[in-house]
Amino acid sequence: MDKEKKGLHLKRATKLKIIFAGLLTTVAAMFATIYFAEDQTHPKPVVVGALFGLIFGGFLAALLMVLGTKDDKNVPKYDERQIAEQGKAYKYGFFTALIMLALVACSGLFEIEIPMEQSMLCIFVVVVMVAVVATPLIMKDAYFSLRENKRFLIIVVGILSLVNLAIGVGAIASGRIMTDGKVSFMGGANLAAAALLIYIEIAIIIKSIIDKKED
């Protein structure tokens, strides 16, 4: 067990090097895709672009996680009360997802039209589930680990919500939000992400105010 832990533990500098290498590789792959885009034998640039966007976003998230975390192995990530609260929160999230997916299945069964593309509907379920999980986690102080730099992550969440909001508003302005009378994935996903991040940011601010009053 200890050997496994030792094997997995990487120094902060090593993690940053791996992440930067990943970011550079993704950017290089993006340029290569643009270069080969005219060749019709290759996949559509939009699909490849979206794929690389996801990979790039993953590396960016990893970078922010490393930068926003104290590299102190003596401090546990979460304490026992936080882990217990996380268990409860994930349970709420599980039942929310279960109920929502059952409703989606029923809508198909009874031929009820949902004004969303199927992929957007999946994003909607995920957003609601994450909101349900995040609320008790934030309110019971089990959202941030003991090692995380809370202020840094609040700023990052704020920036990410604004970026998503800007893309979403752009989609509304250009009319990309609706396709065949349904909310499209290309326009709606960013708006849904923005709504979730703004909700999380507001919950964190409310919790901070409650904590300050307690102090």
């Binding site: 003596n74 546990p76 304490d79 026992e80 009360r81 936080q82 003991l146 904590d211 307690e214």
Partner: protein, 64 residues
């Protein structure tokens, strides 16, 4: 039930909830929840708190 023994022991060392939390390796809210009686700590955490405050388990956690 509120744990006033823990609160007074902490105060006698002139420690804040955050100081004790840092010493034990938990969040401030966890210490707050134990003092308010909202959370029942495991025996491991009880022992860690006792060691940090130089008290026995009976002195801090035994209800009379």
């Amino acid at each position: 039930m509120k744990n006033l023994k823990l609160k007074s022991a902490r105060a006698s060392f002139d420690m804040s909830q955050q100081d004790l939390a840092d010493k034990v390796g938990v969040s401030r809210q966890t210490i707050n929840a134990i003092e308010k009686g909202d959370y029942n700590p495991t025996i491991n955490l009880c022992i860690a708190i006792c060691k940090a405050l130089n008290k026995t388990l009976d002195e801090l956690f035994w209800e009379e």
